[in-house]
Amino acid sequence: MERHFDQELGGLKEHLLRMAGFAEQSVAQALKALVQRDNVLANKVDDDDGILDQLEIEIDDRCIKLLALRQPTATDLRFITMAMKICSELERIGDQAVNIAHRAEELNKEPLLKPLVDIPRMAEHAQGMIHDALDAFVYAKPDVARAVINRDTKVDLLNRQLHRELTSFMIEDPHTITRCLNLMSIAHNLERIADHATNIAEDIVYLYEGRDIRHQNG
């Protein structure tokens, strides 16, 4: 039986996917601004963050109203509560993209330190994780979400590797310190984005299986 409530839930899902689309786009544009040394694009990422903030408020508002008025249970309850958590993760992903864009603007003031290799690789992983977590959400595939969680380690490893490499650069030549710190910061932002994607994936496992799998590896 199709309920009127289902339409409201459908509307919520639509909003959440729109927000996810914007978050993915922000990360992609921030990276492009870095790789292509494009200050205009970096500025755009900053400006567009307002959209994500607005969507967060709107989605939370919808969720609270649905909780109060529909008193949801079972899958409905899990969907609404997870929508609230996922939207907050997406908003933070947007914030990380803004941080990356700011650092890119800083880096663009000086010549390229070295060709970017590890950062685009990290970005590719992190973006893939967001993308797959959202696929798991749309197609109700908790297994896909579980696979996302396992990929977080790879991003962490890349981040550490990059830190070591940049540290050695700074030791060799103090003139590179500003640029190295900016790059380190970007690597850290990407690592955080992967963490948010992991959180989303965990929420999705809970949404579809009713099982809380957070904090199980110590």
Partner: protein, 294 residues
């Protein structure tokens, strides 16, 4: 006191925490057949129902129902109309047999004792297992006080002071004492709907039952009276085993510890209430608690 009404009570000293491990903690009582929904993890079992089938004439209302109802906890029975939940409830205090042409098979044990055993007095069962109905039904010709003490008189409590003492205790337990203590002589039917329902609860409590069955106890009451009944249920579960049939799922969610979902005369799912309302195991239960049924 002429008669001992404090018939077998459950152990009261310690209330071991109820452990939520469906399928486990079954070892206390041997089961004939394992079924996930049959089991409830229970510290102490009040009712052990095995293979219960009920009929009204040719019509079978309940099929092969087996479950355990924990003592000193609230168990809610939910399900659409005609799913057999009220029939099941009436089997628990031998009221089903009062309907002409009704019969049943299977076994129901109350604290280990077969309530349908050959030498068991049905009246005694009904004293141990009190019932409150959907429509409050105080005796119309009796005063508020007499409504509560009538059961004691029928049970041979002759000492008036004892009866009054128990009446006050029952009215206090039913959270009605303060509202009626100054007009105990007025007719029971002069009270408001919510007060009448609490009067019926007091009447049921006066004879010191072990179990209280409630069939839609708040469905005819306004939200404030409903809240009072629900608060009362929480108070009473410290001393009593409560089984409540309700159409109001939020009510089951709010006031029960365990929830059983019945459909077409069968037990579909039985688990801790929080599990049933956040992550039910069965698709039919899921559809029912989310209102997708139909």
């Amino acid at each position: 006191m002429n008669v001992d009404l404090t018939a077998p009570q459950s152990k009261r000293e310690s209330d071991p925490p109820v452990v939520a491990r469906p399928g486990l903690a079954l070892s206390a009582i041997p089961t004939k057949r394992e079924m996930p929904s049959r089991a409830t993890p229970v510290s102490e079992v009040a009712f052990e129902v095995s293979d219960l089938c009920c009929w009204f004439g040719q019509h079978q209302a309940v099929y092969d129902l087996s479950l355990r109802i924990p003592a000193k906890a609230v168990t809610a029975i939910i399900g659409p109309s005609g799913c057999g939940k009220s029939t099941f409830l009436r089997c628990l205090n031998r009221m089903h047999e009062l309907v002409r042409g009704s019969r049943l098979s299977g076994q129901i044990r109350l604290f280990g004792e077969d309530i349908y055993g050959p030498r068991v007095d049905a009246t005694l069962v009904r004293r141990r297992v009190g019932m409150v109905f959907q429509k409050s039904n105080p005796f119309p010709t009796m005063s508020v006080g007499d409504n509560v003490t009538v059961g004691l008189r029928l049970n041979g409590v002759r000492d008036r002071r004892v009866r009054e003492e128990w009446m006050e205790r029952a009215l206090r337990m039913a959270a009605l004492w303060d509202e009626v203590k100054d007009h105990l002589d007025r007719p029971g039917t002069s009270l408001s709907g919510g007060q009448q329902q609490r009067l019926c609860i007091a009447r049921a409590l006066a004879v010191q039952p072990e179990v209280l069955l409630m069939d839609e106890p708040a469905s005819a009451l306004d939200p404030i009276a409903t809240t009072k009944i629900e608060e009362l249920i929480q108070e009473l579960k410290r001393d009593y085993t409560i089984v409540i049939v309700t159409h109001n799922m939020q009510q089951a969610a709010r006031c029960s510890d365990y929830t059983a979902f019945f459909y077409l005369g069968r037990l579909v799912e039985y688990d801790k209430t929080e599990k049933v309302f956040t992550n039910p195991s069965n698709k039919q239960t899921e559809d029912y608690v989310t209102g997708r049924f139909g």
